[in-house]
Amino acid sequence: MGIRLIIAYIFMGGAIFFAIVTTIGLIRFPDVYTRIHASAVVLTISAVMLSFGVAIYVWEFYLSIKIMFVGLIFLITNPLATHAIARASYRRKIACPEVRSVDDYSKYLGRDRE
């Protein structure tokens, strides 16, 4: 068991830890938008770290580049998708944030509707 496999297992273990954090956050958080936070940030890092761990584990040139490309696609597309979901659910009033200490966006939407 070389040093490379140990690094790969460290990456994969971190990915599993972040996956568990994602699940707990998705179950426990009180609001829709905070759930989106858990899903956007932690899940993306989990997917990227697991694909990097697999790429280090395999350690062949073409195959590793391909697996890293999978991680890169997750890193780029998952924040975009969650952003689209948040925007749609705010605009259609599917779910509103619970505590609004500062809310500039509703003013902007009201100005836009005139």
Binding site: V21, S46, Y62, I65, D103, Y105, Y108
Partner: protein, 168 residues
Amino acid sequence: MRRKVFTFFITLAIWIVFSGRITDDVIFVGLIASFITTWLYSDLLFRSTNRRKNWAFYFKKFFYIILFIPVFFYEAFISALKVSKHVFEKKPSFSPGIVKVKTTLCNVTALTILANLITLTPGTLTVDFDMRERAFFIHWIDVTTAKEAEMRKQIIERFEGWLEVIFQ
């Protein structure tokens, strides 16, 4: 013409990486496929520019892109740790709100990457972008200040310098 040649070689390189080996038939099919792709879609990858810079300019840009990737991963990793601290609290305590932050960038690609970075930094989520005022609407999990300058400093000022150098 130069644009089409660049597109052709980039699509050929992606084909070879995805097929995973270099043999005669793979090269043959890849040449045909990337020729068709270049012929149809070559104006989507690069935009045509009026004035041409020298090579050192593009080399500097490429160097900064290579240097930017570890910063990106580091910020995302730290943000994941900070959100997971919120998960293990006994009762999750937030004071969420949506704030408006203005930016100075004007390139479309730079704005997209900045929005992605804002989503990946701790406790912030991009909801919308106003094209007339050049302002992001950001859902923030812990609103600590209401002043515009401090918000700018806490959220986006770390990345604007990098993106301004890369996409100019």
